[in-house]
Symmetry: C2
Subunit: 246 residues, 2 copies
């Protein structure tokens, strides 16, 4: 069975967390709007007769089932493919980590759109400067410090977030780091200096054969100024020396 | 087995979605910090040796397992108690709805804290006015319109979000409506005029015997100005007549 992924065709966005999981487990999928254009997405969002209509994208079609919400899609895929350790406790833990990553994604998006998604960046630039300064000083160190501590508990150098087996949360943390390095290169470099295990994990995900092949393919959309991770030099503040470190 | 809920003792906050589920299914639980104070929470958040440390609260202890992230906790509880329909498809659908509610919760919080959680409201009041205006005009109608449409597809008058059986998503939608009526009484009343099924669902949840008993007890903390739902009269804008309606 071939999956159908419904997501915006010109950005990585939230869809990228799903793409990475599908690519890692070698699942066949059709990135619908990249072939058919955005009309396919608009049609889907307008279909009021669906049993499980999405509020927003991404949405994955698996057989006759439509599944939305990134973390929900990943959890579903992990029931069918090897995308996390196969125990109830590890499944709950993996999902907990993924939902924490989802919270971080919202905060990253809101660094450049703190007032309204429907307004242009230029219409909320002053607020974006304040929000991104707080993100760089407090939130990014707190989130990345959390993941670094989790990795630090594992004694093996090649351990993943949940232990011996790579999970969709690892793929998603890779994407977070990749995106932060694009959006906030100076500030993220400063924070990541204190996170050697996260840096190593990013590299190890990139070195997974399936991920390496994907990143080198045309299927990987480049970061750009329409996605969640956007680079505005004026938001890439130098972190204050007084920034909290958890 | 008695659950232990770790959450801030003076607010409903995100913990309230868990409290409502525990109360609905009659599970025995200890609201730890309401008995022991916030030191119990600080101790938990500082415990680096936990197998599954929380990034933030709420956190539920079930036996030896610590589970964080509201939607993750609710999904876990629904595996043990009657909190959603017992089919894989309905479980995925219920979780999808819950994660959409979680997105809405973030947006509601950010109406009064669009710049930083660590700053006072007064330090971000101008941005809060802009963000709440957008929320009232665009986001609240879009979210509530989505849930109203889902309820409208069910032919039975007494149907719940996912069909014949009440789920944790219904309890959470009740909480959203209760909170919006506290925080934005004028604006939410305008939007809810177009959402008769959501209004009816709110009433029907309130009439569930377990929920009615809970709401009348001292266990239910009153809404206040420290939670997610806060009432600032200046943010309760009149919705524009040009507001989009999905």
């Amino acid at each position: 069975m071939k999956y159908q992924l419904f997501y915006w065709p010109s950005i990585q966005g939230r869809g990228e967390f799903v793409r990475l999981a599908l690519e890692y487990c070698g699942a066949a999928y059709d990135d619908v709007a990249r072939r058919e254009g955005e009309a396919a997405l608009e049609n889907l969002l307008a279909r009021r007769t669906l049993a499980t209509p999405p509020f927003a994208l991404p949405c994955l079609k698996a057989g006759r089932l439509f599944i939305a919400q990134t973390a929900n899609i990943l959890q579903f895929l992990s029931m069918r493919h090897t995308l996390c350790a196969n125990s109830t406790v590890k499944r709950i833990w993996t999902h907990q980590l993924q939902l924490t990553i989802a919270d971080l994604v919202v905060e990253i998006h809101d660094t450049h759109h703190p007032i309204a998604s429907g307004l242009y960046y230029e219409q909320q630039k002053a607020a974006a400067k304040r929000r991104s300064a707080d993100f760089i000083k407090h939130r990014m160190p707190k989130f990345l410090g959390y993941f670094e501590q989790i990795l630090a508990r594992e004694t093996a150098r090649d351990a993943w977030l949940t232990g011996k087996q790579v999970s969709y949360a690892d793929l998603s943390l890779f994407q977070i780091i990749d995106g932060l390095r694009y959006a906030l290169p100076k500030a993220s470099a400063r924070t990541l200096k204190k996170c050697p295990r996260i840096q190593a994990l990013h590299q190890r995900v990139m070195d997974l054969p399936q991920i390496r092949a994907y990143l080198g393919s045309k299927r990987r959309i480049a970061f750009n100024q329409d996605g969640i991770f956007r680079h505005y030099a004026e938001l890439d503040h130098s972190p204050s020396k007084t920034g909290r470190w958890p």
